[in-house]
């Protein structure tokens, strides 16, 4: 079924086309770099230098101490006020994202060891920042109380103290989990979108018809598309991993070998999807639309790369099981941040393998060396 001469000619042709067609290069190399820069530098889910209004109604030594502590933190940018109404107006104008209100009885209450003598207002429009801010401010308050107690030789009596230990991403850098997840999206693009587009292009330009009238076999035709884009995809992968490790300083806790294996497996699934799409869509516009809707967008939204799957409604959670990127995102985040965790790696890899087999099986069943 396969002759080396024909397969070699097909692969060579594909590479020549990739090299000479700027759009393929753009999808394979420029887009990954662009996305990595965007998500590595532009999008951050952490709070830094959040503008906060601090209302001190009656300055005392204690309030000064507290505010000074607050302004040392890199999380906040302090805007001092003396009236709550003025601070609230600033919140309305979006000059600050939150208001910390130290009432006039702050010091008195503190000295009498009464509870919670300050108020927090946050702007709920940006729910994510608001929740972060709330947590940070409470944390700062607790720390300050503790320090104060230690200094004065007292033991602080709280009903229960919370002790936080953050595993796998101690600095809580969102970049550390965004960048590995992004690699899954990039691979989906190269594997599915590019493959679907280039096959559709052959139909559009009539070259597919000419190919099919030659003695070339169906397997050769499929391998002739698979091999070049597999290599291209692994190239895009290598580029992304290098950028992750050295540009964004994401740690790689697991083994490189497993990372390569997992990527190869996922790339096969993506290529399978691309080939399956190309058996249906015979023009580039339709192929592009289908590829974006059924592969790229789900990889973005339903893979757990940005949005936590556990917090999705049940039916949507169920749907994520057919999104291949979901398993790859889990694999990548585990390998990069946690290390070689056998259970996670085995179950997710098995899921990918199954999906790859399904997509190739369907493609093989759908493809015929005929035009009708």
């Amino acid at each position: 079924m396969i002759t080396a001469q024909r397969l070699h000619a097909l692969v060579r042709k594909e590479f020549l086309q990739i090299l000479r067609d700027p759009s393929a290069i753009a999808i394979a190399f420029v887009l990954p770099v662009f996305l990595l820069f965007l998500f590595g530098y532009g999008v951050s889910l952490d709070a830094h230098h959040v503008p906060v209004a601090v209302v001190v109604e009656q300055p005392t030594q204690e309030t000064n101490e507290f505010v000074a502590g607050l302004s040392q933190s890199t999380y906040f940018q302090i805007h001092p006020f003396t009236q709550l109404t003025a601070a609230r107006a600033a919140l309305m104008r979006h000059e600050v994202d939150g208001v910390l209100w130290l009432r006039s009885d702050f010091t008195r209450a503190l000295l009498q060891q009464r509870t919670a003598p300050f108020g927090i207002l946050v702007n709920g429009v940006d729910a994510n920042t608001a929740r972060l801010l709330e947590g940070y401010l409470q944390g700062v308050w607790q720390t300050w109380l503790q320090q104060r107690a230690t200094r004065s030789g007292q033991i602080l009596h709280l009903p229960a103290t919370l002790e936080n230990r953050i595993w796998f991403n101690p600095a809580l850098r969102s970049r550390n989990y965004l960048v590995p997840g992004l690699i899954a999206v990039i691979m989906t693009l190269i594997g599915a979108l590019l493959t679907a587009l280039v096959v559709a292009r052959e139909w559009e330009r009539g070259t597919m018809e000419a190919l099919m009238a030659t003695p070339v076999s169906l397997l050769e035709l499929l391998l002739g598309k698979l091999i070049p884009y597999f290599l291209l995809g692994m190239g895009g992968m290598a580029l992304s991993v290098c950028m992750a490790l050295w540009l964004f300083a994401v740690p790689l806790e697991g083994s490189l070998g497993l990372l390569i294996l997992a990527s190869a497996l996922f790339l096969l699934v993506a290529l399978g999807m691309g080939l399956l799409i190309s058996t249906v869509a015979r023009n580039q516009f339709v192929a592009g639309q289908i590829a974006i809707i059924v592969t790229f967008l789900p990889a973005f939204i339903l893979s757990g790369f940005i949005f936590d799957i556990g917090s999705m409604p049940e039916p949507i959670q169920f749907m994520t099981h057919i999104v291949a990127a979901r398993y790859f995102v889990a694999l990548l985040q585990t390998l990069f941040l946690a290390g070689n965790v056998p259970e996670v790696i085995l179950t997710n890899a098995a899921a990918l393998l199954l999906m790859a087999l399904i997509f190739f099986g369907l493609t093989w069943r759908q493809s015929r060396k005929r035009l009708d």
Binding site: R6, A9, K13, T207, E209, T214, V216, L371
Partner: protein, 604 residues
């Protein structure tokens, strides 16, 4: 058909349906035919006749829904892979990879066809020599001219010396010079014993084929060698001339005469096909017997098919009916098209210039597409713009329509200086683009309404014009049909109607007749002639050389310059040489262009 030669392709009652817009469309209707070994078999028919479907059946790219196909003794259903080992196939757009060079395309197809690497070089050299592509090995296929692409596609199909060569419309969109070169190659291959099946919409190419398969609307109308087809018409074909009478007028008179099946303008007179052999009739007309050609046989066959129920796309009446215009003359200076009675002895309007072009130049960066051309078109003329691919026809055309601004030179259209008053000038222009630019998902009525609105017609006037278009172009039965579902000939009528809604002074037609059947083409030219007689100026580009004869004046362009200008007769006379005293328009075209381009072609 010659029973001595075995068949390389045998179709037995083949039918093929396609799913289009939820309907099953019959593309090929119980076709039984053979392609004989060692001969060139032409597959002729207008667009949509089923030519490509038949080609793909032979290449085992389609399986028939009914019937069987045997290719080189192999069944296409079960032995497709073996068939594809033996055939060479060139699809409609040549199947070339535009990003790859000439050499790389040849390498790819040599490998795919399993040509032994040791023989590869020698065979490629042979084919590069045959197609004269040798000097262009390193050029990318996308940068070749249409004619060169076509020859490269042919070379790719020939690499492994196939037993059967299938060529699907190899000459479409290619200028006459390239067409002639391609046919020389094909006939050369036939001498080496190759069997060739070639499809074409150009009826004059039938003359070059040994056998003909004539397809129309999925049915095989005829299956015979060329002389067999034309034999019944011996003595029925005449070239009629009458001194002092314009050819157009003579044509319309002859067409109405009983016993006359077909009348077309040719050379100095009118070509007439009669129902039966005629005694030479009355002076002052001079009837000269001529040999029948394939198109005559085709047209007669289509008329017969029409009478037996299977209608052609166009349904021309024996007598053109004079349709009273539904619109009272709203803008008096404008001519009222298509109301001219046939009896008129000539144009009644003064022949003032309508288009004046002077030293027109258009550059694209370094490249000069149009190099300072000048010509004048008078009112009511049919003016043809001819030239090979890349001659600058389209560029000139676009400048005349105000779609492209000239780099230098002056351009007056209907008295308006284009560029300064382009919008005003465009109001006087109607334009029919090559692919008709209709809205496929809109109905005929909606298309008409849209184009009228575009030209600012409204109210009662608009309603009246739409009614006029439906009546005049016999579109009423299709008024609610989507324009994409119309047969090609009706699409062409609708496109023409849309361009005429605002009663333009000038009509621009860009290759309006490619692909439509000969009857639809005759119908179309009848309308164009009537328009011209009523004072509309018609500017046309065409690839059909015999259509150049229908023009009053023409301009022959090559490499951005005008080679020849004048009446068809005078242009033909320019190419007269001792060995071709009376060149046809196509011969004149080729001679003049080769004279002009050969020093430049040699230089490159």
């Amino acid at each position: 058909m010659s029973s001595a030669t075995p068949a390389v392709v045998e179709l037995q009652g083949c039918s093929k349906w396609f799913q289009r817009a939820g309907q099953r469309v019959l593309a090929l209707n119980a076709v039984t035919a053979q392609v004989a070994q060692g001969r060139v078999t032409g597959l002729l028919g207008p667009d949509g006749a089923g030519k490509t479907t038949l080609m793909r059946l032979a290449a085992s790219l389609f399986h028939p829904d009914q019937g069987e196909v045997q290719v080189l003794g192999l069944n296409s259903r079960t032995q497709g892979a073996q068939i594809q080992q033996l055939i060479g196939y060139m699809p409609q757009r040549f199947g070339l990879y535009e990003e790859l060079t000439v050499q790389e395309n040849l390498d790819l197809y040599a490998a795919l066809q399993g040509l032994e690497p040791s023989r590869q070089r020698a065979r490629q050299q042979e084919l590069l020599a045959l197609t004269a592509l040798g000097p262009f090995g390193a050029r990318r296929a996308g940068q070749l001219s249409g004619g060169m692409k076509q020859k490269l596609g042919l070379a790719c199909a020939l690499l492994r010396a196939p037993a059967l060569l299938l060529l699907d419309e190899p000459t479409v969109g290619v200028d006459p010079i390239s067409r002639r070169e391609l046919w020389q190659i094909i006939l050369g291959l036939r001498h080496q014993g190759l069997s060739v099946l070639v499809s074409t919409a150009y009826l004059d190419e039938a003359e070059r084929c040994d056998d003909l398969l004539l397809l129309h609307q999925g049915q095989l109308l005829e299956h015979a060698p060329h002389p067999v087809l034309t034999a019944p018409l011996q003595g029925c074909c005449f070239l009629v001339t009458q001194p002092g009478l314009s050819r157009r007028l003579l044509q319309s008179r002859l067409r109405q005469r009983t016993g006359v099946l077909d009348a077309t303008i040719q050379a100095e007179g009118v070509r007439v096909v009669c129902r039966e052999p005629q005694a030479l009739p009355q002076p002052p007309e001079q009837w000269m017997p001529i040999a029948p050609r394939f198109e005559d046989a085709f047209v007669v066959r289509l008329y017969q098919a029409q009478h037996s129920g299977a209608a052609s796309e166009a349904t021309p009446k024996a007598t053109p009916k004079a349709i009273p215009s539904a619109v009272p003359s709203v803008s008096p200076p404008r001519p009222e098209p298509l109301t001219q009675p046939i009896q008129a002895t000539g144009p009644t309007f003064s022949p003032e210039p309508v288009i004046e072009v002077h030293d027109l130049i258009r550059r694209f960066g370094e490249f000069v597409a149009v190099k300072g051309i000048s010509f004048t078109v008078l009112r009511g003329q049919i003016f043809g713009l001819l030239g090979a691919n890349g001659a600058g026809k389209t560029t000139t055309f676009n400048m005349l329509c105000g779609l492209l601004s000239p780099t230098a030179g002056t351009l007056r259209v209907a008295g308006e200086q284009l560029g300064r008053a382009a919008a005003q000038a465009r109001r006087n222009i109607g334009y029919v683009a090559q692919k008709f630019s209709l809205y496929g998902h809109l109905s005929v009525l909606q298309n008409l309404a849209f184009f009228s609105a575009l030209y600012g017609l409204r109210g009662a006037h608009k309603t009246a014009r739409i009614q006029w278009a439906l009546d005049e172009f016999e579109l009423t039965p299709f008024a609610l049909a989507n324009s994409q579902d119309l047969p090609l000939g009706f699409k062409q009528r609708l496109a023409l109607a849309c361009a005429l809604m605002h009663q333009p002074l000038i009509l621009f037609l860009d290759e309006p007749t490619s692909g439509v059947d000969p009857l639809a083409r005759r119908d179309f030219w009848k309308r164009i002639n009537q328009l011209a007689d009523s004072g509309v100026t018609v500017m046309i580009t065409t690839h059909f050389m015999e259509e150049a004869e229908y023009c009053d004046q023409l301009v022959l362009m090559s490499l951005g310059e005008i080679l020849a200008q004048g009446t068809p007769q005078s242009v033909r006379a320019l190419a007269a040489r001792p060995d071709q005293a009376q060149p046809s328009m196509e011969e004149a075209f080729i001679t003049l262009i080769q004279q002009h381009e050969s020093p430049l072609r040699r230089a490159s």
